[in-house]
Amino acid sequence: MSSNQSKTQNDSNQKGKATESPQTSLSTKTEAAVPEFEASIINQLVTRFTDKVIKVVYVRPGRTKILVPPNEIVNVALFIKDTIGLDHAESVSGTDYPKDDQIEVIYHLSSYSDEKLSSHVLALSTRVDRNDSRLQSLIDVFKSAEYHERETFEMLGVYFEGHPRNDRFLLPEDWADIPPLRKEFRIKGR
């Protein structure tokens, strides 16, 4: 199922249309009426970055998702911080897609300083190669992502370049197995 989902993402990525074909059927329903405020955010992003680089998807009120290639993530993050005004990362998560040979890293960004933005969570997402999973760290832009990135490294094996500690964090000290949130890691007996 997941491969279907991600295929649509990839296809639409190639088409490069900003507000077309989000990955969920839920969002297709609501897509007809993008609220004004979300539309202005989407507009700002699309005008600054060309359609080939970035794909912005309106998911539902207060939730917008941006798909970027890994090499552009720092530029887009800087733009989001300086121009749009989202100032911290609430969460960084990785999702493993073995069928596409990719790992999706997704930053959920939000704002404390701008009251209008506080109900919004912007998902900044990128997909890295599963066998050579490297990504530029965002801690220079969003310091709040530091521990979340470290957790993503140990749970999914995504190496964050520029992060001071790509290191064990929550797992036992003698952990010698593959990163546990990769899909080929199975819980014993299950």
């Binding site: 199922m1 969920t24 299950r190």
Partner: protein, 373 residues
């Protein structure tokens, strides 16, 4: 070989201390600090002693089976940790919650937040050497535990929230009992203020200690009472109201000093405000009606993803759930307040005195089990 005079270097002067996980003042959490005389110069948190792999476990169970094990990370706040999970699953599977269900759910969440905050306050009190402040909150916590027991059937881990509403309706006479106990508790809060918050010794140990400025609070992305103590009135219930919270009138409690005192005062102010919210919820609640939407045996929705958050006792508690269209989630990520507030720990400890460590550490409203998940 004769004697040699060796000059003391900076490295010789430093002493490394391991705080926890056996240390009674740290919970199931360890951090290494280096002290130079009386001052902490280095701090490295080492969580993970109670890591259970909740996120991995979620991938093996369906949306309903996930509820009981998801409340394990913070059993004292088990209604809130399953609240945002239920909201996210409802969004993915397109379930509408009946209005009475939404009210009772919010009520349970407020009662449970009181339980958590009282437990935290008890621990904070005892580690600052104030044993009365351990006995009183832990005793008064029973009020809310009894209420929740009457409401849900369990004392601590309720598994009360399910996608589609709540498990069962309120028992008869619950409203009167709840109002009576909340009224009593409000009087007790005044006594807490007298004996603890106005205590000169407590004030000396917390005022001006571990100051987190507004700019740094934003930069570090802290949440909950730690954030509100630094002068940012952010509360998910207000910023992005879920369920019935847009119909409830309340003030976001915050302070501006950003020190340990403010961080311990904000949860206290929250408790007082919460009593008012409980009253409003009971007042506005529809007197009859469904409390739960009818579910399919194995609820599932179209492939998609959802990010939902609620305000828990430790701040914003978010769930990011990816569904591939099957009854089991493809990926579940918990973004919990404790994990986010941990980033402030080395930041505040470095440069402060060793004696201030307990008052800073516990003021961060940190729950090790939740951070480890």
């Amino acid at each position: 070989m004769g004697l040699e005079i060796v000059k003391e270097t900076e490295e010789d002067r430093l002493m490394t201390l391991s705080v926890g996980p056996q240390h009674p003042g740290s919970g199931h959490f360890r951090f290494t600090i280096k002290v130079d005389g009386d001052y902490i110069v280095y701090c490295d948190p080492d969580p993970g002693y109670v890591h259970r792999g909740e996120e991995k476990m979620c991938e093996y169970r369906n949306f309903i089976q996930n509820i009981p094990h998801l409340e394990r990370p913070v059993i004292h706040d088990s209604t809130n940790i399953t609240y945002s999970y239920s909201l996210a699953v409802e969004e993915l599977t397109n379930i509408q919650v009946p209005l009475r269900g939404q009210y009772i759910r919010a009520l349970a969440s407020e009662l449970n937040r009181q339980v958590y905050t009282l437990y935290w306050l008890g621990i904070y009190g005892i580690f600052l050497g104030h044993s009365t402040m351990f006995m009183w909150p832990v005793g008064d916590r029973e009020l809310f535990i009894d209420l929740l027991e009457a409401l849900t059937g369990a004392r601590v881990t309720h598994a009360f929230n399910i996608p589609g509403g709540i498990r069962n309706d309120m028992p008869e006479g619950f409203k009167d009992r709840c109002l009576r106990q909340v009224a009593y508790f409000e009087k007790r809060l005044d006594e807490y203020e007298d004996i603890f918050y106005n205590n000169p010794l407590f004030r000396q140990r917390t005022e001006g200690v571990g100051v987190l400025t507004k700019e740094d609070a934003i930069k570090l992305g802290v949440t909950g009472s730690v954030l509100r103590a630094s002068g940012i009135p952010f509360d998910v219930r207000k910023a992005e109201p879920y369920d019935v919270y847009n119909e409830i009138d309340f003030k976001v409690q915050y302070m501006k000093t950003g020190d340990s005192f403010a961080r311990s005062m904000v949860p206290f102010l929250d408790m007082r405000e919460s009593c008012q919210i409980i009253r409003t919820l009971l007042d506005k609640m529809p007197q009859s009606g469904e409390v739960r939407a009818k579910l399919q045996p194995n609820p599932k929705g179209p492939a998609g993803e959802s990010y939902k958050r609620v305000e828990s006792g430790r701040g914003a508690l978010g769930y990011y759930i990816v569904s591939d269209g099957t009854p089991k989630p493809y990926r579940v990520k918990l973004s919990v307040g404790s994990f986010r507030n941990m980033l402030a720990l080395p930041y505040l400890l470095i440069g402060s005195k060793l004696a201030d460590m307990p008052s800073i550490y516990w003021s961060l409203n940190y729950w090790p089990v939740e951070a480890d998940r």
